[in-house]
């Protein structure tokens, strides 16, 4: 048995299995729930934080999100976490999930959530896709939703798609958040006074132009009323908004998404306060120098609003996708000023509404502009309870498969040694694959599991080939027989990998991961586990089994006996 140390495949196998187990870090006997995330205005902020493991609430053991759900309206709850005991004023806005029992990352189907595939309306470059993704990421974060994963996908014709996953989220949430946004522009309508034959607009200099109800002719260019046609004066884009009394309305594009550099939401720069018959929200925004200068130039000559003291006659209109979404009054004090951090405020009747509107406006301004609109072309949504069922069912399936295979082996070889050895090899293979996936950071989704189960079935096949080749009554040595077996195994492995290759190019998550896991499985099998098995086989079993006959042999003998000497078919 001291020979075992010389068999480097076996050694390698043992090392890899241990490494994989370490990578997976399985934990046993895990109790409690993990705080997955705290909503921004949750009262539990500061008392609990994400990652805390809650064991008990008000003396009752909590072991699943459902258990915890009972306490969502509890006030002054006695919470016991793994590290401490404390009283939490309220558990509102505290989201929990099952504590993970290992470092294996489970795919959406096993955890619950939503996954969508977004298609840009026009063909765009990869750079633009990256831009979109980072903008979306930013936007999602401003709503305080974590665990949102974006991925770039490319199909066979080179078109880009974006896949977005929200663990534990609903389809409605994702749709709302993603589809809502579009091109961001802030405009200020200016009034150009008539001078008899045309109209005059005063910025730094004066500009004259002609206009009627349908169009305006500025600097020789014709722009239609209420269209997105523009003309540039003094570095600022203008659209024509029609006639109002004896004046012409020209809209100045003062900010684009890029000009809004930052939106402040910390308590010093933002908040909600009660005023008389409602609530006012406010927050501060950081505008680019260029944007601020445009703002100064545009607002310089705007008179005050007689009906709304303290504010200018013109409002700041926010357009998304060329549709007017919101308008904000501009304070008097900002007239002609290069203001880099104006504050945005609004008013609503209830505090909730004000909070909603604040969040909305923040996100609106913070979103930056998306260069193109996105359309949802594919979505999947799984409730967490269904996901959990899948997980348990997978264990059942894998276990059943292993047992079934073991039985067949037993029937064929009539001895415990071989099936036992095969099972150990198979299990080692699975552990190494899982370890590899954790190391790469891969999600285990249903497809990956399908692949693993396929490996349970096929891994054994190759072990059978090795065993049988090893047993053949041939005049060559055991080593050579085994080498021959590997010839066959390599051939098969190469073929399966070849068959899997096209799947790598199809950019659809599930199918791709199936291919990847299968390929890893085959490589691990061919280069590590099966050679290890061969070495162990040589060592422990060798030629022993020639004598025992199994069901198969008996059948074959029976068939042979019925044969009369017949013509042989030669090569």
């Amino acid at each position: 048995m001291s020979d075992i140390w010389k068999k480097w495949h076996v050694m390698f196998l043992i090392v890899l299995v241990i490494a994989s187990l370490v990578a997976i870090s399985p934990k046993v006997g895990v109790r409690g729930v993990e705080v997955s995330f705290l909503e921004k205005d949750s009262p539990a902020q500061g008392q609990l934080s994400a990652g805390d493991i809650i064991r008990e609430v008000n003396g009752q053991e909590v072991n699943s999100p459902e258990d915890f759900g009972q306490f969502s309206n509890a006030t002054n709850a006695a919470v016991k976490t793994r590290e401490k005991e404390l009283t939490v004023s309220s558990l509102q806005g505290v989201e929990v999930k099952d504590v993970s029992t290992s470092r294996i990352k489970l795919g959406l189907e096993l955890v619950g959530g939503t996954r969508v595939v977004l298609q840009p309306e026009t063909n765009i470059s990869e750079e633009t896709v990256d831009q979109i993704i980072s903008t979306l990421q930013l936007r999602i974060n401003s709503f305080g939703l974590k665990d949102f994963k974006f991925q770039k996908i490319q199909d066979l014709s080179g078109n880009f798609f974006i896949q977005a996953e929200l663990a534990g989220g609903t389809q409605a949430e994702v749709r709302d958040l993603l589809e809502r946004e579009g091109k961001f522009e802030a405009k200020v309508p200016l009034l150009a006074t008539t001078n008899g034959s045309g109209y005059t607009l005063r910025l730094d200099s004066s500009h004259t132009f002609t206009a009627n109800e349908t169009h305006a002719i500025v600097s020789g260019k014709t722009i239609m009323v209420n269209s997105t046609e523009r003309v540039q004066l003094e570095g600022i884009d203008f659209e024509f908004g029609g006639l109002q009394d004896s004046r012409a309305v020209v809209k100045a594009i003062v900010y684009t998404g890029l000009d809004v550099q930052q939106v402040y939401t910390d308590p010093q720069n933002s908040g909600i306060r009660g005023t008389g018959n409602g609530f006012e929200f406010y927050f501060t925004v950081l505008i680019s120098q260029e944007g601020a200068e445009k703002f100064a130039k545009i607002t310089k000559n705007i008179p005050s609003d007689p009906r709304n003291s303290g504010y200018l006659l013109s409002k700041l209109e926010i357009y998304i996708d060329d549709a007017l979404i919101n308008s904000y009054a501009i304070g008097d004090s900002l007239r002609g000023q290069v203001v880099r951090n104006p504050s945005v405020s609004g008013f609503r009747e209830t505090q909730d509404q004000a909070a909603q509107e604040k969040l909305y406006s923040e996100s609106l301004l913070r979103s930056g502009s998306l260069p193109v609109k996105l359309k949802i072309v594919r979505s999947e949504s799984i409730s967490p309870s269904l996901g959990r069922e899948f997980v348990s069912s997978i264990f059942v399936a894998a276990g059943a498969a292993l047992i079934a295979v073991f039985m067949v082996m037993l029937l064929r070889y009539r001895t415990l040694k071989i099936p036992a050895l095969m099972m150990m090899t198979n299990i080692a293979e699975i552990i190494i694959i899982l370890g590899a996936m954790v190391a790469i950071g891969f999600n285990i989704d249903l497809a990956a599991i399908g692949a693993i189960i396929a490996i349970i079935g096929s891994g054994v096949d190759h072990l059978i080939i090795i065993t049988d080749e090893g047993q053949r009554k041939d005049s060559i040595s055991l080593k050579q027989k085994i080498r021959r077996a590997f010839g066959i195994i390599m051939a098969v492995g190469a073929t399966v990998i070849a068959a899997m290759l096209p799947l790598f190019i199809i950019g659809l998550g599930m199918v791709k991961s199936f291919a990847i896991v299968t390929t890893i499985g085959i490589l691990v099998g061919i280069f590590i586990t099966r050679p290890a098995y061969a070495e162990l086989y040589e060592l422990l079993i060798g030629e022993e089994l020639e004598t025992k006959s199994s069901v198969f042999d008996k059948l074959l003998n029976f068939v042979k006996k019925r044969d009369k000497p017949s013509q042989e078919i030669k090569d």
């Binding site: 594919r378 399936a397 399908g450 189960i453 010839g487 399966v496 199936f514 198969f552 042989e568 090569d571």
Partner: protein
């Protein structure tokens, strides 16, 4: 009796299977205008899977959704559940069901028709590419045209017949099934390569080589079969079931194709 195993008459088996599969494609074509039924991932629409407390039949669900554009199937695997395929708004449909049934969990999958169609195109390309790559690999291994062609023909027959049978069972082609089909190529080739390797390289007579290969081959089939059967019988998700049943059918069919079709093709080629 060994003669009987190698007899040409056994060719009737693969021929019958091919006929059945062809029949399946033709009848599907007549019903739907396509040779294979496709699941939503490959043609667009929504797939709603619901798991209920207590069992619910497909007929019940159909009744609740009368008048809607839907098709309902009982889910294999999940202890109580139903799959609804529809081109209408899935959340609306789920809402209707939630009012009358006690639903334990659900999942919705929606694919836009253009994307679904494009997936299908890609799947077809992938299948052909896999076949091509596999053929090249086999040529490189055996370097003899005849036997290589025999293996490829055998694998192609496997896929053809498996698809046909899936059609007969009313199981639409989906991404998991498609992945399983590609895996099947690998499996099928397993036994064919074993056979060919034995016949060409073991130095034994054709008969002996075939018989010794058979012993190993059938054991291999038995284990995979047992594993897939175990998965089908154990309560698992629809995805795993689809993979398992595809492989199950495929393996059984492969047995016929390896030990009859491939054997006969080899026999003929080597006699020349």
């Amino acid at each position: 009796m060994i003669e009987k195993i190698l007899s040409k008459k056994l060719l009737i088996l693969p021929i019958i299977l091919l006929a059945i599969a062809t029949f399946s494609f033709i009848s599907t074509y007549q019903e739907t205008g396509h040779f294979v039924e496709r699941s939503v991932e490959l043609k667009g629409g929504s797939l709603i899977t619901i798991a209920t407390n207590g069992s619910v039949s497909a007929a019940e669900v159909e009744k609740l959704l009368q008048g809607r554009e839907i098709s309902v199937r009982s889910v294999q695997g999940l202890t109580a559940g139903v799959i609804i395929q529809t081109s209408e708004d899935p959340e609306e449909i789920l809402g209707i069901l939630e009012k009358s049934l006690s639903i334990r969990g659900s999942s919705i999958e929606t694919v836009g028709p253009v994307l679904g169609e494009s997936f299908f195109q890609q799947a077809q390309v992938a299948l052909l590419a896999a076949f091509a790559l596999m053929s090249i690999t086999i040529f490189l291994i055996f370097r003899k045209v005849g036997p290589s062609l025999a293996i490829i023909a055998s694998a192609a027959a496997d896929i053809y017949i498996t698809l046909g049978f899936l059609g007969l069972l009313g199981i639409p082609l989906s991404l998991p099934i498609f992945a399983a089909l590609l895996l099947l190529i690998g499996y099928a080739v397993d036994t064919d390569i074993l056979l060919t390797n034995h016949v060409l390289k073991s130095g034994k007579s054709f008969q002996e080589a075939t018989v010794s290969a058979m012993k190993t081959g059938i054991t291999m089939t038995a284990t995979t079969f047992a594993a897939m059967l175990a998965i089908l019988l154990a309560p698992t998700s629809s995805v795993l079931n689809q993979i398992a049943i595809t492989l199950l059918i495929g393996i059984l069919v492969d047995n016929v194709n390896t030990w009859v079709t491939n054997v006969q093709l080899l026999k003929t080629m080597l006699k020349r």
